[in-house]
């Protein structure tokens, strides 16, 4: 499998007559773009706003981030989600780099939604403050979940994907500034030099804990709750086979943009042939019953062993009871003789004194940690808010609250906020961006 990612580096974004990319400037025909958004009748209101690093803008409730792309030979960017099921990870895909489509609710937020500050103290808490963003601010008629804390956010998330495809299309016939090639030989057909290096797999545990459809991460459109771990080519993940879901406190989530750019996959590619033999990805999941957790761990360990893995990295998209899936998977791999490193965040409480993971085992002796979900964050008012600031306090965002005995409401009258890291949009960056770690004090 050989994936060529043709990169176009976006230096500026403006609205104009023709959606096009020219000399680093991405121009978007707003009306045409919005008509793509409105293809879904459930969208009742929609607007586009461009925000750039340094802008005095706060975005909340943010529901999704997507990199604008197109598949050069045709076919949907997100197979079996925005179009027909086709093989991802092979051939040429064009991508607009340094920018993302952000989907923001015009009014209503939920447990899984997050916040982004494009400048100031709050900017460091999310990856997306350093990107130029095309922000879709929209509302829907999905009244059944308007007041629900858990939202599927279907219409908005799908509108974001359509918009990312529409924008990505403008570079279909252009020559990219850079082409990144991702290619791995079949596992059993690798040359002597690579075979003698330690073989490693990357085990991913995407969010899949809702038993009702519509909330979980999707793999080629398939709900990750309904699968047992499976072996994948890393190119598939980089090329749209995975889309983010709508469940889990936001800082622990992996956006679709995160999947498309998965830094740990890219780094394993970089080391492939030098220090390791990168076998591929074992796509596991996160579950709500012990036997399901143990079944997945057993599948992962068996598959790693059968593939001849000497080492593994396990990354979880979540915290709390997913820690049990995470630790079980590490223990199963270690028991199978596969040396394993974990990649996660922690929940040590506002005072930092609580147990970092809900499940622990001495065999998990190598873990990279990306942050504390419950760290308290206070931020001053921001000139412009896109979305609705009150959603942080009102709508049950995982890091916001309507009232607190000591701290008062999350949103103050002057527009300043107090929140837990939990609601920073994909803030803990467990996919690998994170320059945060945890230290003892």
């Amino acid at each position: 499998m050989k994936l060529e990612l043709g990169n176009f580096f976006v230096k500026d974004i403006t609205f104009g007559d023709n959606t096009s990319f020219n000399n680093g400037t991405l121009t978007i025909n707003k009306e045409e773009a919005l008509s793509v958004v409105r293809e879904d009748e459930d969208i009742t209101e929609a607007d586009l706003v461009i925000v750039k690093p340094g802008d005095k803008v706060r975005l909340v409730p943010v529901k999704e981030a997507i990199e604008p792309r197109c598949r050069v030979a045709g076919g949907s960017v997100f197979p079996a989600v925005t179009g027909e099921l086709i093989q991802a990870g092979n051939g040429r895909t064009h991508a607009l780099k340094d920018c993302s489509v952000l989907v923001v609710g015009k009014h209503w937020g939920g447990f899984q939604d997050g916040l982004i500050d494009m400048s100031g103290e709050g900017a460091k808490y999310t990856y997306y403050s350093q990107l130029k963003n095309i922000v879709l601010v929209a509302d829907t008629n999905e009244d059944f979940e308007k007041k629900e804390q858990q939202k599927k956010n279907r219409a908005l998330r799908w509108a974001g994907m359509r918009l990312a495809e529409y924008i990505g299309n403008c570079v279909r016939n252009l020559t990219p500034e850079e082409v990144e090639t991702f290619e791995l030989e079949p596992v059993s057909k690798r040359c002597e030099e690579i075979n003698k290096l330690p073989s490693v797999v990357l085990v991913l545990q995407p969010q899949s804990q809702m038993e009702e459809m519509g909330y979980n991460d999707l793999l080629y459109g398939w709900d990750c709750n309904h699968m047992v771990p499976t072996f994948m080519h890393p190119n598939e993940v980089l090329d749209g086979a995975m889309i983010s879901g709508s469940f889990m406190p936001c800082s622990s989530k992996w956006s679709t943009y995160d999947f498309q750019n998965f830094p740990t996959i890219k780094n394993l590619y970089k080391e492939h042939g030098k220090t390791v033999n990168f076998l591929g990805v074992i796509m596991s999941n996160l579950n709500v019953a012990l036997q399901q957790k143990e079944r997945s761990a057993q599948f992962v360990a068996q598959m790693a062993k059968s593939l001849g893995a000497d080492g593994a990295i396990v990354a979880e998209e979540g915290y709390g009871n997913p820690d049990a899936d995470f630790i079980a998977c590490i223990v199963a791999l270690e028991d199978a003789g596969v040396k394993t490193v974990g990649l996660t965040n922690e929940c040590t409480g506002r005072d930092g004194a609580s147990q970092p993971l809900v499940s622990l085992d001495e065999k998990a002796n190598a873990i990279v940690s990306c942050g504390n979900v419950s760290e308290l964050i206070e931020l001053p008012p921001m000139e412009t808010v896109i979305g609705e600031l009150q959603s942080l306090a009102r709508d049950g965002l995982s890091g916001g609250w309507a009232g607190d005995e000591k701290l008062g409401p999350s949103v103050k009258e002057d527009g300043s906020i107090i929140m837990e890291n939990n609601s920073m949009f994909c803030g803990d960056q467990v996919v690998g961006w994170s320059t945060k770690t945890m230290k003892e004090f």
Partner: protein, 348 residues
């Protein structure tokens, strides 16, 4: 100028050696022994008093010693409290820990000490006191006092504190997120750690696994048929209007609800507010989380004497272990008052 007070044992307080270890606590104005050295090194504070107490006195009359010393401090103004350095002296280390912990609790000022890693006081008090990694004997007095003074200055100036390893004190079991100066992303850290682990090289985990909690086993119930059994859950089962406004995640509140007149928990009257799972099943039948219906059956059969009048509820998702432990303690006080003999605790 801010004010500091230092605690010393009889030896460093220049009262005498082992023969004076029963020396009862005294407070002296000004600086004695290491207090002079501490005062010399402190930039933001003056050492106004030196407290001296014999190690054996503290060891065998801890309550009295604490009472006396806390009374000494009652009418003193001070912004920071120091004890030691205690080097490898076990009884002295214990005394420094005991007094620092009590002073912190009563006066809410920062407390700083220094001990050698093998001093048993380290394990006992590192969670409560900033204990710096000190030398094994008084030969290191100047160095250890200087470290305590520098950190004291930093605390008093309100400067941002670095992680324990960088400051030099024993980690207190408190973990916070920090941005790495190297800006090395997790994607690189994780692959580097894996390569080291594969090559059998030394690596340092970013999350050392703490020892698991052990709880003393409660004595068994002798006669279940005479027992009053309570139902407790972390599945967020509450009356539909959630009267106690228990949070759906990261809960800090719990509630108790009267079920004395109910045979089962009715859907529509009770629901779950837990945000960590699909609520459909428990909303349709709350008994799947809070099994009142079968408890009533056991009550009728006489297997148990009665179901306690109230059930207790909170939410377990994102809830820190510290908050959970506090709520558990509060709930168990209620249960004890109501003479509950046993608890069925359902977790989700």
């Amino acid at each position: 100028m801010k004010k500091a007070i230092l605690y010393l044992n009889q030896f460093f307080g220049q009262i005498g050696g082992e023969d004076k270890a029963d020396f009862a606590p005294v407070i002296n104005e000004g600086q004695i022994g290491p207090a002079m050295e501490l005062n010399k090194n402190l930039e933001n504070a003056e050492v106004t008093h030196t407290i001296i107490c014999g190690d054996n006195f503290m060891g065998s009359n801890e309550e009295e010693a604490l009472k006396t010393i806390l009374e000494f401090l009652e009418n003193k103004e001070f912004d920071i409290f120091f004890a030691g350095p205690a080097f490898q002296a076990g009884r002295y280390g214990n005394a420094c820990g005991v007094i620092c912990k009590a002073v912190k609790e009563k006066f809410n000022v920062p407390v700083v000490s220094s001990m050698h890693v093998e001093n048993p006081g380290v394990e006992m008090f590192k969670k409560d006191v900033y204990i710096f990694k000190g030398g094994s004997s008084a030969a290191k007095m100047r160095k250890d006092v200087k470290v305590m003074a520098q950190f004291g200055d930093k605390l008093l100036s309100g400067k941002k504190l670095l992680p324990a390893d960088e400051e030099g004190y024993f980690p207190r079991g408190i973990r916070h997120q920090v941005w790495l100066e190297s800006e090395k992303p997790a994607s690189e850290r994780v692959v580097e750690m894996l390569i080291k682990k594969l090559n059998g090289e030394k690596f340092e985990t970013e999350l050392p696994i703490p020892k698991s909690d052990r709880v003393a086993v409660a004595p068994p119930i002798n006669d279940l048929s005479k027992a009053n059994i309570a139902l407790v859950n972390t599945g967020g089962i509450v009356p539909v209007d959630n009267p106690d406004r228990i949070q759906s995640a990261s809960a800090t509140r719990w509630g108790k609800y009267d079920i004395s007149k109910m045979e089962i928990l009715q859907a529509g009257q009770f629901k779950t507010i837990h945000a960590g799972f699909d609520p459909a099943a428990a909303d349709a039948d709350p008994n799947v989380i809070l099994p009142l219906d079968v408890m009533r059956a056991y009550e009728k059969e006489g297997k148990i004497a009665k179901v306690h009048e109230y059930f207790y509820s909170t939410v377990g998702t994102g809830t820190t272990q510290a908050e959970a432990a506090r709520m558990g303690q509060e709930i168990s006080e209620h249960l004890r008052e109501a003479n509950v003999d046993g608890v069925i605790m359902v977790s989700t």
